[in-house]
Amino acid sequence: MQWGSVSEFFAMGGYGLYVWTSFVVTALCMVWEVLALWRRRAAARVEHRAMLLGGSNETAA
């Protein structure tokens, strides 16, 4: 382990900005993707409920 302290860890030998931007943006992208999928799924379900209530059940035939 080469980090003397927490602040040293965050400084990343002077490259903190670059390293942490990379990692944080990557993490954000992934989290955002998961959240977006979650929302999309919820929306799709709601729409389906509405359709079922609307009674357009032609696919059963």
């Binding site: 382990m1 002077g14 490259y15 992934m30 799709a44």
Partner: protein
């Protein structure tokens, strides 16, 4: 054989299967990512040339690899879809594109983040970089072509044709470094030291790659489930599994 195939390729038969698989992939992905990050930040040593900046490698290389790999996978699904006229394949291709594009974007961004400290520029017009940018355009092309076409069937098939044609570019992207003088250092940066330290770096990088791969599978599977719900006008399933069976049989 055709009977079997069509049975397993039916989206609603696949739906619950995908639902069961997602948690596994997601959990393992998170676990591996944790281990990989730990190794990357606490076990792997400082690079004697680049200092700590090199640690970007643990997201940059996995993202770059996934970006190319996912394109090929997408093209394969597209090809299967065109050949066998299987709806599920088109849906898979559709589900892969956004994630692939995201990784391409990440590879570009992390590369730029790495480039500033090492090369002194956010961006250079180098073969590897430019071709990665072009890969982003290919993803964008596939997705925009799809959204530009209203008819679902045509959207599927047209974007599949384009994805297939575009796959010609992937090897070209890969080998362009050799045809063109380049700044991007390839393997020389990380592993040439050849010592024990390089080995831990390599392990961390591979762990992260595996984690990204599992993450992609999980995300893509759940996106495909959304797509199935949106596109197949079927009742909602998983709450009452028997219904699925019935519908599948009727079909």
């Amino acid at each position: 054989m055709s009977v079997n195939w069509s049975k397993y390729s039916a989206p609603m038969a696949f739906y619950p299967l995908a639902g069961r698989l997602i948690p596994w992939f997601a959990c393992v992905a998170v676990a591996l990512m944790g281990v990989g990050l730990y190794m990357g930040f606490f076990v792997a040593p400082t690079d004697f040339q680049q200092g700590e900046a090199y640690r970007i490698i643990f997201v940059h290389v996995p993202a770059a690899w996934m970006s190319m790999f996912l394109y090929v996978v997408m093209a394969v699904w597209a090809g299967i879809g065109l050949g066998l006229n299987a709806r599920l394949s088109f849906m898979m291709a559709q589900a892969i594109a956004p994630t692939g594009a995201m990784f391409t974007f990440l590879a570009l961004l992390t590369g730029a983040m790495w480039g500033k400290p090492t090369w002194g520029a956010w961006w250079v017009w180098d073969a590897r970089l430019t071709s990665e940018l072009i890969l982003l355009f290919q993803y964008a092309g596939v997705m925009l072509l799809r959204t530009s076409i209203d008819d679902m069937r045509r959207a599927d098939r047209s974007s599949a044709v384009f994805a297939l044609v575009g796959v010609v570019n992937v090897p070209i992207i890969y080998f362009s470094v050799q045809w063109w003088n380049t700044l991007h250092q390839g393997a020389s940066v990380s592993m040439s030291t050849g010592s024990k330290m390089a080995a831990t770096m390599l392990t961390a990088m591979l762990l992260m790659t595996l984690a990204f791969w599992l993450y992609s599978v999980a995300v893509i599977l759940s996106r495909v489930r959304c797509i199935i719900v949106e596109r197949e006008s079927l009742p909602v399933w998983e709450e009452e599994p028997p219904v699925i069976q019935k519908v599948a049989e009727v079909r």
